[in-house]
C-alpha cells in the first residue's frame, strides 16, 4: 500500500477545505487535499445562483465563481490534491486510509487533519413522510445537481416540502426551466431558509409558501401522482379535516442538512448531539488533538462566506499545531446553550485563549425580535450584544472580548437570547 507523509491532510475539497488548505499552506505547512469528486469546489459547482462572496470579496459571485477564486489560489500555491479519492477511515493517530482507481488504497500519515466533509441532505425517510415509494422523490440538492450540472429535468410539476434555502432556490430554478412549482410546504410557522430567498425565489414568482403544513401522504405506484398535505398543530401533528390533495409528478425535500461525520465518529471524535458536528474548542480543534473541523461538517452554515472563513481559521490553527505553537490547554471551560439558544460553537474555550477575542456562532430556537445575546458566567452577565432579529434560519455571530477582562475566576459560560428588557433576570 502506498504511503504518503504530509504535515496537514484536508479531507474534502469544498469551500471549507479549500480555504483551510490555503491558510495552512500560507503558514508554510505541507498540505494535501483529498477530494472524492473529480474536481475541487464541492457543492458550489451546482449553486449557479449568485449571492456568494458578499462578505469576503465584497461582490456578488455565483457558486462556481466563488469556488474558482479558491481553486486559483490553491493552484498558485501548488497545493496538491488527490481527486476522485474517497477517505474510508481516519485513525486517532492521524492516519488516513483513502482509495482511488490509480493508487488503490493509500495510507496518509498526517501531522494534523482538517475535517471538511460537508453535510448531506435529510431524506423523506428521516422525517418519516408516509405514503408510497414511487419514482419522483428527490432531495432538493440532488435535483439541483441533476438540473444544473447534468442538464436533466427530474419532473415537470413539483411540490417542495421544506423551505430550506436549497428548496426555495430550486423552486425558482425549476420555474425558470418551465416547470410548475405548485407549492413550498413548511411545517413551521416561518420559513426555514433565508428571508432574501423567500422574497427573491418564491414571492417574485408567485410560488405559494404554505406554512404550518406538511405532507401526510405521497401518492402513486410507479411515479409520484400527488401529495396530500395537512395543517399541523403546535406539536406538528396533522389536524384532521385540513387535508388537501395537490397533483404533482415530483416531490422535492428541503428539510435540513446533517453534518457528515461518519468518519469522525469512527475515529472516536466526540460529536455534539445538537450540531451533529464535532465538539470543538475555540481553536476549532476536536476532542482528538491535532484534528480540526470546519465548514458544514462542524455546523450547518447558511452563508458560504462563513464556511470559508471558518476553513481559513481551521487551516491557521492546524498550521500552528504543526509548528508546535498551539499550546496544550491546561484546562478548558464549557460554553453552553441557554434560553432560546439551539446550539453554540465552539463548545469549549481553551485556557490558552483567555486573552483572545472569541468568535461564537449560534442559532436561536425560536424567532424573536430586538434581543440581547447575553453571556453568563458565575451567575453574572459578563457581556451582551443587541441584535434586531434572532431567527433559527440565520446564524448569529458574536465576538466576545477576552475573558480575562471580565473575571478573576474564569468558569463555564451560558449563552441566552433574551428579549430586550428582560436581560440579566
Amino acid at each position: 500500500m502506498k504511503e504518503i507523509k504530509v504535515d496537514i491532510a484536508v479531507v474534502g475539497g469544498g469551500p471549507a477545505g479549500l480555504a483551510a488548505a490555503i491558510a495552512a499552506r500560507e503558514q508554510g505547512a505541507d498540505v494535501l487535499i483529498i477530494e472524492r469528486d473529480f474536481e475541487l469546489g464541492g457543492i458550489l459547482h451546482q449553486c449557479i445562483h449568485n449571492g456568494f462572496g458578499l462578505h469576503i470579496f465584497k461582490e456578488e459571485l455565483t457558486g462556481p465563481e466563488f469556488a474558482q477564486r479558491y481553486i486559483n489560489r490553491v493552484n498558485e500555491l501548488k497545493i496538491p490534491a488527490k481527486l476522485d479519492t474517497m477517505v474510508i477511515s481516519i485513525s486517532p493517530e492521524k492516519e488516513i486510509i483513502a482509495v482511488n482507481k490509480i493508487d488503490g488504497l493509500l495510507r496518509i500519515k498526517a501531522g494534523a487533519i482538517i475535517l471538511a466533509m460537508g453535510c448531506r441532505e435529510r431524506t423523506r425517510h428521516n422525517i418519516l413522510v408516509p405514503g408510497s415509494r414511487p419514482a419522483g422523490i428527490y432531495p432538493a440538492g440532488l435535483a439541483q445537481r441533476l438540473v444544473n450540472i447534468e442538464g436533466f429535468m427530474p419532473g415537470k410539476r413539483f411540490v417542495i416540502l421544506g423551505s430550506g434555502d436549497i428548496g426555495m432556490i430550486m423552486a425558482r430554478r425549476l420555474t425558470w426551466e418551465g416547470a410548475k412549482v405548485e407549492a413550498v410546504v413548511e411545517i413551521q410557522p416561518y420559513p426555514s431558509g433565508l428571508i432574501r430567498n423567500q422574497v427573491q425565489c418564491l414571492k417574485d414568482y408567485n410560488i405559494p409558501l404554505i406554512l404550518e403544513h406538511t405532507v401526510i401522504q405521497v401518492h402513486g405506484h410507479q411515479r409520484v401522482e400527488g401529495v396530500t398535505i395537512a395543517k399541523v398543530d403546535e406539536k406538528w401533528r396533522p389536524i384532521p379535516g385540513t387535508e388537501r390533495f395537490i397533483e404533482c409528478d415530483t416531490l422535492l425535500l428541503s428539510v435540513g442538512l446533517i453534518p457528515e461525520n461518519e468518519l469522525s465518529k469512527a475515529a472516536g471524535i466526540e460529536i455534539d448531539p445538537k450540531t451533529k458536528g464535532p465538539i470543538v474548542t475555540n481553536f476549532l480543534e476536536t476532542s482528538i488533538p491535532g484534528i480540526f473541523a470546519c465548514g458544514n461538517v462542524l455546523q450547518v452554515h447558511d452563508l458560504i462566506d462563513n464556511v470559508a472563513l471558518e476553513g481559513t481559521r481551521a487551516g491557521e490553527m492546524a498550521a500552528t499545531y504543526i509548528s508546535r505553537k498551539l499550546e496544550v490547554a491546561e484546562s478548558k471551560i464549557s460554553c453552553l446553550p441557554g434560553t432560546n439558544v439551539g446550539y453554540v460553537v465552539p463548545q469549549f474555550i481553551s485556557s490558552r485563549a483567555f486573552s483572545d477575542k472569541i468568535t461564537f456562532f449560534m442559532r436561536a430556537k425560536k424567532p424573536q425580535r430586538n434581543v440581547y445575546v447575553e453571556f453568563i458566567m458565575n451567575n453574572q452577565q459578563i457581556y451582551r450584544k443587541f441584535t434586531k432579529f434572532a431567527l433559527p434560519s440565520e446564524m448569529i455571530k458574536v465576538n466576545l472580548p477576552p475573558l480575562k477582562d471580565f473575571a478573576e475566576k474564569i468558569s463555564d459560560i451560558t449563552i441566552n437570547i433574551i428579549p430586550k428588557g428582560e436581560e440579566g433576570q
Binding site: M1, R36, D84, M86, I88, I97, V99, N100, K101, I102, D103, G104, L105, R120, E121, T123, H125, N126, L128, P130, G131, S132, R133, P134, A135, G136, Y138, P139, G141, L142, R145, L146, V147, E150, G151, F152, M153, P154, G155, K156, E177, G178, A179, I216, Q217, V218, H219, H221, Q222, R223, P238, D249, E262
Partner: protein, 489 residues
C-alpha cells in the same frame, strides 16, 4: 407464438417461485418463470422481516408448521452454495408480565409438538439482559430459539433466481399473466406480449395467486393482502444480538425489533388488512404503531436514526394457512397463501413441489451438469484493506466508490448490471449491491448510478427507471419544457 412447450412454468418470481425454479433446474426439465415486474423479488419477498423462523409459532398440523420446521435447517447449505449471507443469531420472544411467561410456556409446548430443537425458556433476567443489553428492564422472561436466524430476503431471492437461470431456467419479466387457456395436451399462458405453452403451471403469484387460480376456473380461495409497515434505522444505533419478538397477537407475531445482515436495525411490522393489492404505502398511524410497539421491547429506540420506511403485503388465504396442492385442473398446482413464515418455508416448499411433481408422474432425471454454486463478485465493504488494495490493482473500478454510505464501488455496480439476470433499474442495482440503501438513501449516488446504468445498458438516461416502465427518473433535458410550451403555442 413460440412453439416451444415448457414442462413447468412458475408464475411469480418471488422467493417461493425462485426457490422452486432453482430446485427444478436440477432436473432435465424445461422450466420458465413468468413475472409481472421488471425484476425478481418485486413484491412481498423484498419487503418482509427477513427472519428465518425457528418454527415454534405455527399451529401444529398446519402446512405453515410443517414447512417452517422443514425449511429452517435447509438454509445453511443453500445460503452457502448461493453466497447469501445468513446467520443463526437466535430469536427471543419477550415477556414483560407474569402472564406473558404463561404464553411463553404455551409457545414452548407448541415448539415441542413442531419438533423444534434447542428451545429454552429463560427467566433469569440478569442473564437475559447480559445476552441482550438493550432489552427493556421490564422483561420477565424470554423464549430463546437458537435456530432462528436472519437472511436478506432479496439476496436470497436474487441468489436463487440467478442460480436457476445459469442452470437453464428461463425468466420472462414485465410479463403480467392475463389469461390461461387449457388445451388438451398443454396450457397456454397469455401475457400482454406473448403466449407461453407449458404442461405444468405452478401458481406462486403471491397476493395475486387467487386471480391466477380463477383464470383456470378454480375459484376456491381468496387472498387478502395484510399490510405490514417497517422502519429501518441506521447501523449500530443500538446494540442488538438477537431477533426480538413481543408476545404474539392472534393474527401476527407482533412488532419485531431486529437487526439485518448488514447491521441495520429494523422495527415492524404492524398488521393491517387492506383491499388494494398494490397499496404498499406507509401511514402515520402505522409508523407510530411500530414505534410504540418497538419501544415496549427496546425503550431507547432512536427513531431519529430512521433511514427508510416501507411496507410489504402478506398474502393471507381464507384459512390463514398455506395452500400448496395439485388441483382439479390437471397440471395446475397452487402454491398460494404463502405469508409468514413463507421465507423460511420457501426452500422446503420447493422440495415438496419436486415430490408432488414426481407423484403426478413427471419424469425427473437429474441434470448431470447442474452447478449449485453461485459466485458473487467481491464486496468492497466486507474486505480487509490489503484485499481491497490488491483488488483495485486488478480492477481499478474497485477504486471508485459510488455509494459512500455502504461503500459500493463502480466495479460492483457494473457487475450487478452484467450478471446473469442483471439489474436494469435503480432498484435492481440497489437490491444487488446495496448502493442507495444507506443513510443518505441515494442522495449522493442516484445520479451516478443513473449514469452507469445508461452507459452500461446503452440506453438514454431518460429511459432508466426506478422500478420498471412509468417509473423513469428523468423527464427530459433542461430547456425541453420551454420547447414544448413554445412549440405547443
Amino acid at each position: 407464438m413460440t412453439e416451444e412447450i415448457f414442462d413447468c412454468c412458475i408464475i411469480g418470481a418471488g422467493v417461493v417461485g425462485c426457490a422452486i425454479a432453482r430446485r427444478l433446474a436440477q432436473f432435465q426439465l424445461k422450466t420458465a418463470v413468468i413475472e409481472k415486474g421488471p425484476d425478481v423479488c418485486c413484491g412481498t419477498s423484498k419487503a418482509n422481516s427477513g427472519i428465518v423462523h425457528a418454527g415454534y409459532a405455527a399451529q401444529p398440523g398446519t402446512l405453515k408448521a410443517k414447512f417452517n420446521a422443514a425449511g429452517n435447517p435447509l438454509f445453511d447449505q443453500v445460503c452457502h452454495e448461493l453466497s447469501v449471507p445468513f446467520a443463526r443469531i437466535g430469536t427471543f420472544v419477550v415477556a414483560i408480565t407474569d402472564d406473558g411467561i404463561k404464553v411463553l410456556e404455551k409457545l414452548y409446548q407448541r415448539g415441542q409438538e413442531n419438533k423444534i430443537p434447542k428451545l429454552q425458556i429463560i427467566t433469569d433476567t440478569q442473564k437475559i439482559r447480559q445476552m441482550e443489553p438493550s432489552l427493556t428492564p421490564n422483561v420477565t422472561g424470554v423464549l430463546y430459539a437458537p435456530t432462528g436466524g436472519i437472511v436478506s430476503p432479496y439476496d436470497l431471492t436474487i441468489g436463487l433466481a440467478e442460480n436457476a437461470y445459469v442452470n437453464g431456467v428461463q425468466f420472462f419479466f414485465n410479463s403480467e399473466v392475463v389469461g390461461i387457456d387449457i388445451k388438451e395436451r398443454y396450457k397456454v399462458i397469455q401475457t400482454r406480449s406473448k403466449e407461453i405453452k407449458t404442461h405444468f403451471i405452478l401458481n406462486a403469484a403471491g397476493v395475486h395467486a387467487d386471480e391466477i387460480s380463477r383464470m383456470v376456473g378454480l375459484d376456491y380461495f381468496t387472498i387478502t393482502p395484510r399490510k405490514g409497515e417497517y422502519i429501518l434505522l441506521d447501523k449500530k444505533c443500538i446494540e442488538l444480538n438477537h431477533v426480538l419478538f413481543p408476545i404474539p397477537t392472534p393474527i401476527s407475531k407482533g412488532i419485531v425489533v431486529s437487526i439485518t445482515m448488514e447491521g441495520h436495525i429494523f422495527l415492524g411490522p404492524n398488521a393491517e388488512t387492506i383491499e388494494d393489492k398494490e397499496d404498499k404505502s406507509t401511514t402515520t398511524e402505522g409508523l407510530n404503531e411500530i414505534i410504540e410497539g418497538a419501544r415496549k421491547l427496546v425503550p431507547d429506540i432512536p427513531v431519529n436514526e430512521a433511514i427508510v420506511t416501507y411496507a410489504g403485503l402478506r398474502a393471507v388465504s381464507d384459512n390463514n394457512d398455506f395452500i400448496i396442492e395439485p388441483t382439479k385442473v390437471e397440471g395446475f398446482i397452487n402454491v398460494a397463501g404463502i405469508q409468514s413464515p413463507g421465507l423460511t418455508a420457501s426452500l422446503a416448499i420447493a422440495e415438496y413441489i419436486v415430490e408432488l411433481l414426481e407423484n403426478l408422474g413427471v419424469k425427473l432425471s437429474v441434470k448431470p451438469n447442474f452447478n449449485p454454486i453461485r459466485e458473487i463478485p467481491p464486496r468492497f465493504a466486507t474486505l480487509s484493506n490489503e484485499e481491497r488494495h490488491q483488488l483495485i490493482l486488478r480492477n481499478p473500478d474497485y477504486g471508485h466508490i459510488i455509494c459512500r454510505c455502504e461503500y459500493v464501488t463502480e466495479a460492483e455496480i457494473k457487475a450487478a448490471i452484467h450478471r446473469p439476470l442483471g439489474a436494469t433499474t435503480l432498484d435492481g442495482v440497489k437490491f444487488r449491491t446495496r448502493a442507495q440503501m444507506g443513510r443518505c438513501h441515494g442522495g449522493f449516488c442516484t445520479n451516478r448510478i443513473l449514469e452507469i446504468l445508461s452507459r452500461e445498458l446503452q440506453v438514454p438516461i431518460e429511459q432508466i427507471s426506478k422500478k420498471g416502465p412509468k417509473s423513469e427518473l428523468i423527464v427530459g433535458k433542461t430547456k425541453d419544457l420551454w420547447r414544448i410550451t413554445v412549440e405547443g403555442n
